[in-house]
């Protein structure tokens, strides 16, 4: 799987190996931007959570990994999107311990704790979660 080391920006997510691919993309860009291993793991884990949700609730979706660095900060932004039924009660979903899929319940609330910026929009037909991490340039 040599393609895993190539920089890629959008991954279509349909199954477990796509989750792994999306994680590698996030990790690769994060490493290139100078994020340490701990941050790389946080990002990869966030991507894992979000893309797994996509597969569980919408069947398929996409994960976008982008470099949104500016003069002061190196920044990586990840957007995971699907066209599934949407999250009925966003506030509830963001609470700790909440989960409909039977997972440990860390889900969205846990993911939010791993990143700096976290935004979520959801309506039937489109759910979009965007997360980002930044690193001050020295």
């Amino acid at each position: 799987m040599n393609t895993l080391t190539k920089y890629c920006d959008t991954v279509t997510v349909r199954n477990t190996s796509d989750i792994v691919l999306a994680r590698s993309c996030a990790r690769a860009l994060a490493a290139r931007l100078g994020f340490g291993k701990a941050d790389q793991t946080r990002l990869a884990t966030a991507v894992s959570e979000l893309t797994r949700n996509v597969i569980m609730y919408a069947g398929s979706g996409e994960c976008n990994v982008t470099d949104t660095s500016d003069a002061e900060f190196n920044r990586i932004e990840i957007t995971v999107k699907d066209h599934g039924p949407g999250i009925a009660d966003i506030e509830l979903a963001m609470q700790d311990g909440f989960s409909t899929g039977g997972s440990m319940g860390a889900g969205l609330a846990g993911t939010r704790r791993l990143v700096e910026d976290f935004s979520l929009e959801s309506a039937p037909g489109l759910t979009k979660v965007t997360v980002s991490l930044s690193l001050r340039r020295t």
């Binding site: 477990t16 792994v20 440990m104």
Partner: protein, 133 residues
């Protein structure tokens, strides 16, 4: 994708090398449970040193596997958690992986053997004429 479950006497070893799908996880768990039952396993070591990401799904798989095995009377050890995987699990607020954790397989086996030795049902040490599958 099958996860092999070699035996070391009445101890089972397995390594989760990569992410599992829902189906893979179910298959692994039922394999492990039937092996535990067949062999009357006293202990299981689950090696996750190859996992550089453990999200809430995988954490649940590991935890559930440990619970199931315990219900069948086997002691469980998880070994090889990578440092930043541990950190991320804690930061996410993920409940601690129920099982005891060790750094590597060797320590895992030692710990298991020590625990097993304390069990009431432990009769003999000699099952060594059985080999790896």
């Amino acid at each position: 994708m099958r996860i092999a479950i070699p035996r070391l006497g009445r101890i089972l070893l397995c390594a989760i090398q990569q992410d599992l799908s829902d189906d893979d996880a179910l298959e692994f768990q039922s394999n492990l449970l039937s092996t535990i039952a067949d062999v009357e396993a006293l202990g299981v070591v689950i090696d996750i040193s190859a996992l550089d990401v453990v999200d809430s799904f995988m954490a649940r798989v590991i935890n559930d596997t440990a619970s199931m095995a315990r219900l069948l009377g086997a002691e469980i050890i998880v070994c090889g958690i990578q440092p930043f995987v541990a950190l991320t699990l804690v930061e996410m607020g993920q409940g601690l992986l129920g099982a005891n954790c060790t750094f590597n397989l060797e320590q895992g086996l030692k710990t298991l053997q020590a625990r097993i030795a304390l069990r009431g049902d432990f009769t003999a040490t000699k099952d060594d004429d059985e080999h790896f599958d």
